[in-house]
Symmetry: D2
Subunit: 290 residues, 4 copies
């Protein structure tokens, strides 16, 4: 009998679904002061970082997630020089931000310094050499607390934190972000599953962001190790923009990243596809279609 | 303790992954002469048809799969009048084909007559009234055997069969299809998972189709209940075409289906997104990017 | 690939273990006013009754559980004439009690009348014809409430209820039972898992029973569909007795049940084995070994 | 939501059942020339040795398995001086054998020398200091091949190998064992699950042993981490004996092992319980009841 016997990471998605991922090895397993941290090896998805039992990213496809999170905001902004990353301890979000030569300063704020040091040790492919880049500053503190410091304004703020900010705290949090954005500044966020099977959490994030930002747009990318079309939110208080029109992404992509940019997933055509939701899904999350 | 206890359909994807779907009820469970057939109720995905332990389609998102399978071929073809469906026993592929008034005849060939009768009884939402449409003919026989009958030529042939045709039989099968296509005829196929996590089966199908058809193109759609970006292949022996250029889909969509067409997923913008693969994935399956 | 795909009942034992049972069919699935009730078919264990996601009994081995629950008390009691069953809605506990001709009256009290009627319909092998026996009375009400009625005294009371009685209520409950026991009356209880892997719940029951009863003894039987050595507690306020000594069970077994009694699991030798705990396990639950 | 998410060893029992064991860590994972070897940590069962995906033994209850395997033969034999262990690489079977001062020589033959060295390193509680005992000899070779060497005769041979010997090879194998047994010699074997849920493999072993040995007896013990009443077979070509009668085990237990023997599970009363099968189960495996 070919058998199912073996080691698995089981990910309970919700009350109605669970997924089992076969594992071939464990590189690290420990408890930081904040969470359980595990680095494991999957025959299908490669190395995986798992926090509190939830898959954060996998070697096979972390670039899909991180490219989708970073590049739309970086290309839709007219001239991003200062970038703030909230979360993103693996360093891959930072890696994508630093691809832009026009970025002069990138500040990454992650609450858990162990994630950062473990990622440098076990997941060096995630950050490449981003942590050593002289333009990068790593701060280990609470994101909300950091926003109250005298940190100046940022052109792009990227929210790369697993947990959804909810309740009364959400409005205060998004307002603090908005106040740290320079003129024409943009917020890009990871925003949970976005597909017919589950969009409730994404919708909640949109509603919270909408109280503070005058313009927002949802987009999504399929991340194989999440087994989901994953959602993102782009928001600004500047004038509304059309993220797929006018060829602006295409021309900036060439100027800012060039042909040897090293991107594997994202490009101008993919950009348009990411922002194309079906009418049905757009209606369900209250997004007007063009 | 919130508990996992309960009923599940477990779908073993491959040696490295399995998914568990909570079930709230069972409507039908039986064995036809060909396969195990089950109709169950999932709190998350609604009614699901399961054949030999594999999810075929779910109420929540069968329209995503069926609209993606049918409409690209029907709109890229200059004038589809006769359509042949191989497989598709639930009747939803037929439903999508019959949305086109210009279709004069649609023949559906499914080996398992029990699938057809059970779908009419338990899954009437799948076929709506397609089985009663005077333009429809249902034949219960083997697809390959049917292709040898004196059936004339078809403008579009849709392959909606779960199992992949492999080995020596594949070339014979695709050649038989090709010989049943009228001038400028198109083949549309469901073609397994298509994403970084799994594209081996899709690649195999492409290679088999390529031996017979001079032009083919892969596209994909995220089907939540499959938990996958699912692949499709479009092929023709007519001249090469660019499936996303020139606004032809947009104009034909309005002419052929109209605003009250009842589509929930597919539309001209979604069409372009379906055909946009990342460069990386296109390379892996040997598809030249535009 | 031999595959795991298919339907399962998953039973989450605790935070550290779950079991999956393949299912071949579903006979009934519904919601009573008290609980979810399911009757399913397992290829390995036969028909199974599942309440709120927990397996109650299976055709393959329900007789092991029910014979172990009933016969020790019935044979250690000098002359059981009136028997009270708390719970036991399937009717199999009643079936075992009524094997004794000396029993003049058996009262079964189950809160959920749907369990009783569904068991009669779907699980007739459990009760055989016990519900029709003129000596049997079925009352659908709360066990604790019933104990306050003018019901007289019983020689044996059998507690066949899934949920453990806990907290302040436990002492009141066991005292009410004790007050309904006639002179030399015995209480027999199902008492959760009893083995090195899990004995915490059993120990809790023992401690609660011990506050009211001067003598108690734990015993256990392996029930395959529970995948556990399952525990039982026997208690009395009469003088202490040695449940395995003196051949009394052997002689009474012949006298009271006879060779054609129809028992499949229980007998005098098995009786002794049931009451034999390893010293280690006896120590862990605070039971003095002979 | 309290969640199931986390790491598990999944043990597929057969086509109809699987068990998931939560894991808290991995101590070793590798591939010997013969099998996959894993040493993991379970919150419920402690350290576990897993070979080719099957649980071999767990810290919580390996003593139940090993005491049950070794002591019945060692006490029913009139005077065991030379003992041969086939398999048993963890060293716990050897540990139990060496408890007897009357044992002058114990030879352990395990095919996989890595199991032995890994067990010494990661599972020292299994062997205690048995490997260092001057009476012990460890040979890493094939059991069948070893039996053809000029090794003399043994009083007790213990077969502690996971895989069942089947087919034509079985008769040859058991005959080779029988020819290595001294006068009144006994064979003790682990013999798969033995309970109503699964006894087919056990029955097969009995039938194979019966071709060579004139007397055999099945017994069983519940091993929590196996979630099963596990079977053993005792066989001899000497005159038939009654393994539970006559108080011989009780008197020899005191003489040979003494009060400070360190046994946690086995004792004279447990011995009798181990050999007590229900009539039903005895009939199913063709064992005459006393």
């Amino acid at each position: 009998m070919t058998t199912l016997s073996g080691f698995y990471h089981i990910d309970q998605i919700d009350h109605h679904e669970f997924h089992g991922y076969a594992l071939s090895g464990s590189l690290y397993s420990g408890q930081s002061k904040l969470q359980t941290i595990q680095v494991v090896e999957s025959p299908k998805f490669g190395k995986m970082l798992i926090l509190d039992g939830k898959i954060q990213s996998a070697a096979l496809d972390e670039h899909i997630y991180h490219e989708a999170l970073v590049h739309p905001a970086m290309l839709l902004h007219p001239h991003p020089r200062r970038v703030l990353i909230l979360g993103g301890g693996e360093g891959a979000t930072l890696r994508e931000v630093l691809r832009y030569r026009m970025v002069e300063e990138a500040v990454m704020v992650d609450l858990d310094d162990e994630i950062v040091s473990l990622s440098r040790k076990y997941l060096p492919e995630w950050s490449e050499r981003a942590f050593e880049d002289p333009r990068a500053t790593i701060v280990c503190t609470d994101a909300r607390e950091f926003l109250d410091r005298p940190i100046g304004l940022f052109d792009v703020i990227i929210h790369d934190i697993t947990d959804r900010v909810t309740g009364d705290f959400a409005e205060d949090y998004y307002r603090a972000i908005q106040q740290r954005l320079a003129d024409r500044g943009m917020l890009a966020m990871q925003a949970l599953e976005l597909n017919l099977g589950d969009f409730a959490g994404h919708l909640g994030i949109r509603q919270e962001v909408e109280r503070v930002f005058s313009w927002l747009r949802s987009y999504r990318a399929y991340v194989p190790s999440f087994r989901a079309d994953w959602g993102f939110v782009l928001a600004t208080t500047a004038e509304a923009l059309d993220p797929v029109a006018s060829g602006i992404v295409e021309s900036r992509f060439g100027e800012r990243l060039g042909p040897g940019a090293g991107l594997r997933f994202y490009g101008p055509a993919v950009h348009s596809a990411l922002f194309t939701l079906s009418n049905e899904l757009a209606d369900l999350i209250g997004q007007k279609t063009a």
